[in-house]
Subunit: 490 residues, 2 copies
Amino acid sequence: MLLKINRESPKPVYKQIIEEIKALIDHDAIGIDQPLPSTRILAKKLGVNRTTVVRAYEELQALGYLQSRPGSYNRVQKRRKEAEYSPERKSLIPWEKAANNASRELYELFLRYSPERPVGSKFNDKALNISQLDPDPRLYPLAEFRRCLRHVIKVHGPESLEYGTYKGYLPLRRLIARRLRLHGISVSEEEMLITNGAQQAIDLVIRLFADRTKKVAVEAPTYANVLPLIQFNGQKVVSIPMREDGMDLNTLERVLAREKVSFLYTIPNFQNPTGITTSHQHRERLLNICSKHKIPIVEDGFEEDMKYFGKVPLPIKSIDDKNIVIYLGTFSKALFPGLRIGWVTAHRECIERMTAIKRFSDLTSGNLVQMVLHDFLKRGYYDLHLKRLHRIFRSRMQLALRTMEDCFPQTVQWTRPSGGYTIWVTMPRKFSEAELHGFLSRYGVTVSPGSYYFPRTRTSACFRISIARIDEAEIKEGISRLGRALHKLR
Amino acid sequence: MLLKINRESPKPVYKQIIEEIKALIDHDAIGIDQPLPSTRILAKKLGVNRTTVVRAYEELQALGYLQSRPGSYNRVQKRRKEAEYSPERKSLIPWEKAANNASRELYELFLRYSPERPVGSKFNDKALNISQLDPDPRLYPLAEFRRCLRHVIKVHGPESLEYGTYKGYLPLRRLIARRLRLHGISVSEEEMLITNGAQQAIDLVIRLFADRTKKVAVEAPTYANVLPLIQFNGQKVVSIPMREDGMDLNTLERVLAREKVSFLYTIPNFQNPTGITTSHQHRERLLNICSKHKIPIVEDGFEEDMKYFGKVPLPIKSIDDKNIVIYLGTFSKALFPGLRIGWVTAHRECIERMTAIKRFSDLTSGNLVQMVLHDFLKRGYYDLHLKRLHRIFRSRMQLALRTMEDCFPQTVQWTRPSGGYTIWVTMPRKFSEAELHGFLSRYGVTVSPGSYYFPRTRTSACFRISIARIDEAEIKEGISRLGRALHKLR
């Protein structure tokens, strides 16, 4: 075996050995199952330290070039290749039938839509996508995050990679609880559970209460990802229509008098999808109605931190003196969705029970990311980042609304959100998802069809746009294209 | 306002300003609602650049010392303090009653035990804990991990903090699939789903199949965290007793002929808790029996990588030509549990349906940690780490078994695992959890009571010990203490 080693090179000798041997194997100069020289002999031949050769062989082993069984330690092995997916692979189990009814229905919904993010979807790639609710990655405070990562690994070391506690990293819970005081909410870390994004918090709430004899009351329209989950957990939905000022409380009163309801799910700020924010009076009345019927309120505060126009009422949770509100939030809409960190706070008896469900369904949330987020909050980076986001989105939202004024036909109506990312548009006639996507894609723009946000409908006269991920130029261009399309609707 | 700024100090001037002002506020030298001088005036007075003062004020704001509303920008605010938990906080909702039956039962189990990890538990703190199945953090390859973290953030930047795809980070799925070839399993990335640890994979399987008219067949004893989860999802358990060579297949045949079973859950290698590994013949027969009844097998390969004595048969999945096996694994037992990364592979029709459930229950797993793990695997660090673990645990397990030979009374029996971490001990008479804990804690040692691993029992003649987190000295000391205690049992 001939290896060219250059001692003058800045590349370490063991790396040179690796590369030379890899090349020999890749070009079949050494065949499968052939042994390499022993480390002692090769070291002597090359005039290098034996540990250098051992290190090279170990890496070659790790890379799959050498066998790793004792006895055949230095033999070249057939490199594992990736298996290719074969659609012909048959199974003895009829998986569709084997799955329960709820899973079957959920899978159909899963195939039908991907409301929040067009991952591998049917969207026109060249169209300008003004539907996405993920925060704009161009605005990520990456340098600050990197600093926190380094710090946490340095200071906490192995602890950051161990299992955490069931409720989540205590200092993070404490800090989130403290932050909530900004929003008038007074809870302790014992009344708080860290979850994998707000979505898991919703799943845990539903699993806590799910009962076939009861229904879950939701706004119509509402957050698209919550409807299939309620159904999947064997609960029926009862819809309370959204008015201009929030859910129709008269309807709610009638429904609660008539139906057995396990809980009410509401998004009082910048509601998803409508962008509507309810008044303090509306919140008080809602709380009174639910208190009267002893119905827990699940308040989704997913964009609580995006009050960039100011003057938004405090959360229902802040006036919840009877402790019936389960309040949840997330860092996915104003910071990093990829950390998957959300949280839920409620009366301790409720939180303890949700913790039990989380503990058996995935043990704990990731410790490292919680620690890094804690450090990020503690250093004040999140507040600084929010301030920047507020400035940017104040201006983006104003521009979006102004452009709609300029470009949209008079027959079309839309909401004027006081924060957050989403605007809800109502057209003069109904469309199916496919019809709307097809129509708009010819104008090079993608929105989120209204039918996603209602239970059991496939047509709607509405759609949602979101300014979360598009800058001012894209807002102008996207909304102008949309305007041109809407003019053709008549 | 008098501030002492030292230009000679290595501490940046803006930090000095922050500290001085913090001290003034903390000592009430500046009161709540009082304004600080404008940034322009203070900068002039201190003879520093205005941006230095702006930066200091912004951090003070972020730290909660200054108000952040426009107009009252520089005013001192009352610092938010943490809310203290008050056990007197009453709720209008009777949470115990409001929760469904399944949640109520799960909560009772949650309170009763924390089998894997004594987090905030009743264990004697001074006792040597030889019960834990988490990997030893003293062995973590932290430097390598840090290198991968830096690399991923540098190369992938914002992408690493965005939402990922539903099935998980594609290159990671591909790499895990490729690694599985080492174990004779040939699957593609399309047949693979990344989960939050193996526990979430189990939860997803159960949610896919759960059906009140069917039962889940499990080994008895089995992994403690799976039993409450099956129950919680409304399924009954049917137990197949473990023999010295694995689950009793004659009993399994009788059960499958008699009962409607939705799936079978098995751990063929280093079974948790017994440490038993089944033979290739046993695996073949098990596969045949389940094929005959068209029952999916859920094979938990949580310690597949811990075959440090060699000579362990390949997984059932490797001979699964009819594609009835759902195979799951994790990086929590040989690498970092705090990343919360596990995975499950099965026929694509099955994986797609599990993906739908995961998508609605927590959207996706964390992107950053998946990318870092991928980098870690790709560089060969995991294989190198495993090699080191194998050396260490070969020797730890040998020492543990030898010490048991030396110290345990003849009336006590135990398993001789061919890998993994756990050893199962059978005593001459039954104990309740409390009795056993009480008895052993007087001898300064903690084990995991056998009752945790059986459905619906509170006594057992068995217990589990684990060598995962204790070094050789601790093994010797712990097992000697245990031996002394066991001698007193008679």
